[in-house]
Symmetry: C2
Subunit: 125 residues, 2 copies
């Protein structure tokens, strides 16, 4: 991340972004609506993305999977786009980190619970 804008870079259209990241075209448009992506536009109005948009979308998916909302992701974007952060953003990073850790603990407890049941049902078929 933190990619320097290169004016000679080959721009890609929305379909290539979607295929590259393994999401739908609709999803990519949605990310723009949420302020996560701000592509250029061709004279005819088509969206034009830089190559790294694919990596960004993959990253968004990872954060969504971790339970962050679009709003939270936009609030945290400056943290690795610009490398500049204020105290509020660093605090938010920690809060989200702890939320994720707590969720991991929950899931491990649930997994262990299922493992118990599996062990029992395997010995008492």
């Amino acid at each position: 991340m933190s990619v320097t804008p290169d004016s000679t870079e080959r721009l890609i259209r929305i379909g290539e972004v979607a295929r590259g990241a393994g999401v739908s075209v609709r999803a990519v448009r949605y990310y723009e609506q949420q302020g996560l992506l701000t592509p250029e536009r061709s004279p005819s109005g088509q969206r034009l993305y830089r190559q790294d948009a694919i990596a960004m979308v993959r990253f968004f998916q990872q954060m969504y999977a971790a339970g962050l909302t679009s709003r939270r992701i936009t609030e945290l974007l400056p943290c690795w786009e610009a490398g500049h952060t204020d105290a509020d953003q660093r605090a938010m990073l920690r809060v989200e980190r702890e939320r994720i850790q707590a969720k991991i603990d929950e899931l491990e407890a649930a997994r262990d619970r299922l493992d118990q049941v599996i062990a029992i049902t395997d010995t008492h078929p």
Copy 2:
């Protein structure tokens, strides 16, 4: 779990179940609608639960938190209610267990990603 129905047991009403498990009364009614709980009824129509309903609700919450749907939970209920299972149910248990494990791996990756950002933003304030 696997509690033997005891006819001399003191039955409790929905509010006590909800408070005991830390959920809303609405949630407990919803669980019944989904087939997770089947309380008796008083002559006037009020729901009467056995004591272990509280533990059941806590368990439902744990499974919900792990990403299982109401339907899945109902399908798996016989596994520890009766202790009797067929091959399909044991297969489902494994599938859900693997889903949870995959989710844990995802979350750990996301957490590590945030940890990197935190480390960077802490050294470059």
